[in-house]
C-alpha cells in the first residue's frame, strides 16, 4: 500500500514515541546509577559523569552479592523442578486419552489464575510446618504454584502439535511410555523447554510477595525484596544512586536474555495465553 508523505512522517513519529517511552525509564536508571553526590540531585538528560562508585558500593558493602546468588539459586532450581515434573505430565495430558483429562486441564488452568494472596496464609502454615521459614527452599517450594501450571500448559500445547507417527513407530517396537518420553519426545522438546524454562525463570526471578513474606533476614532475601527494602536513614536520604545501580545489575541480564530469545519468548507467551 502506498501512503502519502504526511502519513509516513506521522507513522515514524509514532514509532519514535513508542521507542522513547519504552526505553527512556531504563536509560534514565542507568544514567542515575552513574552519578553520585550532588550530581544526583540535578536533572540530566545526557550522561554527565561515569562514576561507578554506586556499583562498587552495592557489590562490596553489605550482602547484595549474596542476594543475587539467592535469586539465581531459587530461579534455577524452580525451573529444573517444574520442567522435570511438567514434561511427563504434559505427555500424559497431550498423548494419552483418559477420562478426567479435560477436568485436569481445567484445574491446571484455574491454578494458574490463582491470586497468590489467596494461598498466602495457608502456605505460611505449610512452610512453618515443614520448617522452611526463612529458607530459600520455601521459595523453591511456593513458586511451583505459578511455574508448574504454566510449564505444564505450554508443554502440553506444544506436544499436542507433534505428529502422531513418531510415537506410533516407537509403540510398535514395544517401547515403554517412559522410553517414548525420553528417547522420542525429549529431543524434540528442547526448543519449547528452553522457552518455558526461560519464562519460568523470569517469573521466579521477579517474584515479590512470597519472597517478602517467607524470608525474614537480609542474608536470605532475593533481589526484588532487597531492592524494595533499600532505605536511607530518613525519607530525605534515600540512596537513589545505589538503588538504581542495584536495579541495573538485576535487570541487565534479563533484558539481554529477552532480546536474545525475543522470538521464542513471544511464541511462548502467546502459547501460554491465547491457545486455550
Amino acid at each position: 500500500m502506498k501512503r502519502s508523505f504526511l502519513a509516513r512522517i506521522g507513522f515514524y513519529v509514532l514509532v519514535a514515541v513508542i521507542i522513547f517511552q519504552a526505553i527512556f525509564p531504563f536509560y534514565y536508571a542507568i544514567l542515575t546509577s552513574l552519578e553520585s553526590g550532588q550530581a544526583l540531585f540535578e536533572v540530566n538528560y545526557l550522561p554527565a559523569a561515569l562514576d561507578f562508585s554506586n556499583y562498587r558500593a552495592m557489590l562490596t558493602e553489605g550482602v547484595f552479592d549474596r542476594q543475587i546468588l539467592n535469586s539465581v539459586f531459587v530461579a534455577s532450581v524452580v525451573v529444573l523442578f517444574s520442567l522435570a515434573l511438567a514434561v511427563t505430565a504434559a505427555y500424559a495430558l497431550s498423548r494419552i486419552n483418559f477420562r478426567l483429562r479435560g477436568l485436569l486441564l481445567l484445574t491446571i488452568l484455574s491454578v494458574s489464575m490463582f491470586p497468590q494472596i489467596a494461598v498466602l496464609s495457608g502456605l505460611f502454615e505449610v512452610i512453618r510446618a515443614f520448617g522452611l521459614f526463612n529458607s530459600l527452599w520455601s521459595l523453591v517450594f511456593s513458586y511451583m504454584i505459578f511455574t508448574l501450571p504454566f510449564t505444564v500448559w505450554v508443554l502440553t500445547t506444544f506436544m499436542r502439535n507433534l505428529p502422531v507417527e513418531i510415537e506410533e513407530a516407537a509403540i510398535m517396537d514395544g517401547a515403554s511410555a517412559l522410553t517414548i518420553v525420553r528417547r522420542v519426545f525429549l529431543p524434540l522438546m528442547w526448543p519449547a523447554m528452553v522457552t518455558t524454562g526461560l519464562l519460568a525463570f523470569i517469573h521466579a526471578w521477579n517474584e515479590f510477595l512470597f519472597a517478602l513474606t517467607f524470608l525474614s533476614t537480609d542474608r536470605q532475601r532475593t533481589v526484588p525484596v532487597a531492592i524494595a527494602l533499600i532505605s536511607g536513614r530518613s525519607e530525605f536520604e534515600i540512596p537513589w544512586g545505589n538503588i538504581m545501580a542495584a536495579s541495573v545489575i538485576v535487570t541487565l541480564p534479563l533484558v539481554a536474555l529477552v532480546l536474545v530469545f525475543q522470538r521464542k519468548i513471544v511464541s511462548g507467551l502467546t502459547a501460554g495465553a491465547v491457545k486455550g
Binding site: F11, I18, V43, I108, A118, N206, I243
Partner: protein
C-alpha cells in the same frame, strides 16, 4: 481376537503410565495450591492469629459479618463486610483494573498495529517494546518512584519545561495523584504483553483480505473497523481477561510505590497488611478468601462464555 487383547493391554499400560506421570505434578500442586487455599478459607472462619495458628477456634462468619447486641435494644454490625477500609480497597482495585486494562488495550492495539506494518527497523522496535516487560516489577516501581520524585524527579522537570504543569507535583505522596502514579507504572510495564498478544492475533489475519478490500477502494479506517477488528476480537478478549485477572490481584507496585495510603490500597495489600502487619490473621484470611471468590467467579464466567477448547480438538 488376539489383536484386541493386545490393544486393550496396551491401552491399560498407557493408562497406568498416564497416572504415574501425572501424580508427582498433581501431588505438588495439591500441596502448594489446593491445601493452602483450603486452609486460608478455614482460617477465615476462625480466630487464628499469626503466633497461635494451631489453636485457632471456629467462630463462624464473625470475620465477615457479625451483629453485636448491646443489650438495650441497641446493637451494631462488625466484620469485613462493614469495614469501610475494605470497601475502599475493593473500589481501588476495581477502578485500577478497569482503567489500567482499558489503557493497555488501546495502547497495545496501537503498538500491535504499528509492529504489524513493514517498515525499516521493525525488529529493532519490537525488541525495544519488550524492554518494559523484561524489567522486574519492583525495579520498574523504583525507577518510576525516582522519576516521579517531587523535587529531583525528571518527570516534573519534563512537564515543567513543556509547560504542562506550573509547579512540581508530589506524584506518589499526594492522595490525588497516587493512583495515577500506580496506573502509569502498570500501564507502562504491561502494555508490551498486551501488544504481543494482539500482534499474534493480527498476524493470523490473511493478507489477501486486505488486498481485495484495497482493490475495492475501501478506506483504511473502514477496513479496520469492519475487517481487522472483528477478526482479532477473540485474541483481544483473551488478552483483556488475562490482564484483568492480573490487575485484580495487584500487590507489588502499590506496596513499593505508594505504601500506606487509603488512596491506592488494593484488596491484596489490605489482606497482607492484616495477615502479617496488624496481627489479624483470620481477618486477613477472610479478605483473601473474598478476593479469591471474586477472581474465581470471573475465571469461571470467562471459561464458560468463551467455551474454551480444553482438549484441543478444534485446533
Amino acid at each position: 481376537m488376539q489383536k484386541t487383547t493386545r490393544r486393550s493391554r496396551l491401552s491399560r499400560q498407557r493408562l497406568t503410565a498416564a497416572w504415574l506421570f501425572l501424580s508427582p505434578m498433581l501431588i505438588v500442586l495439591f500441596v502448594v495450591a489446593a491445601w493452602p487455599l483450603w486452609r486460608t478459607v478455614w482460617f477465615s472462619f476462625t480466630d487464628a492469629s499469626l503466633d497461635l495458628m494451631s489453636e485457632a477456634r471456629w467462630v463462624g462468619f464473625r470475620n465477615y459479618l457479625e451483629y453485636v447486641d448491646f443489650g438495650d435494644g441497641d446493637g451494631q454490625y462488625y466484620g469485613l463486610l462493614t469495614d469501610a477500609r475494605w470497601w475502599r480497597s475493593v473500589w481501588n482495585t476495581v477502578w485500577f483494573a478497569v482503567v489500567s486494562v482499558s489503557f493497555e488495550t488501546v495502547f497495545g492495539l496501537i503498538i500491535a498495529l504499528v509492529l504489524n506494518q513493514q517498515f525499516f527497523g521493525r525488529s529493532l522496535v519490537r525488541a525495544a517494546v519488550l524492554i518494559p516487560w523484561a524489567i522486574p516489577t519492583i525495579v520498574s516501581a523504583k525507577m518510576w518512584a525516582w522519576m516521579m520524585h517531587d523535587q529531583f524527579g525528571i518527570l516534573n522537570d519534563m512537564f515543567l519545561r513543556l509547560g504542562l504543569i506550573s509547579e512540581r507535583i508530589a506524584w506518589t505522596a499526594s492522595p490525588d495523584t497516587a493512583m495515577v502514579a500506580v496506573l502509569i507504572v502498570d500501564i507502562w510495564k504491561t502494555t508490551p504483553f498486551m501488544a504481543l498478544l494482539i500482534l499474534a492475533g493480527l498476524q493470523m489475519v490473511p493478507g489477501d483480505i486486505y488486498e481485495a478490500a484495497h482493490l475495492d477502494g475501501i478506506p483504511a479506517t473502514r477496513i479496520f473497523r469492519k475487517i481487522t477488528l472483528p477478526l482479532i476480537m477473540p485474541a483481544v478478549l483473551v488478552a483483556v481477561v488475562f490482564r484483568a485477572l492480573d490487575a485484580l490481584r495487584i500487590f507489588d507496585i502499590v506496596y513499593v510505590l505508594t505504601p500506606n495510603t487509603d488512596a491506592t490500597r488494593t484488596m491484596s495489600v489490605f489482606a497482607r497488611e492484616n495477615l502479617f502487619d496488624y496481627d489479624k490473621f483470620a481477618y486477613g484470611s477472610a479478605a483473601s478468601t473474598l478476593l479469591f471468590l471474586t477472581i474465581a467467579l470471573i475465571t469461571v464466567t470467562f471459561i464458560m462464555v468463551t467455551r474454551m477448547d480444553l482438549e484441543g480438538k478444534r485446533a
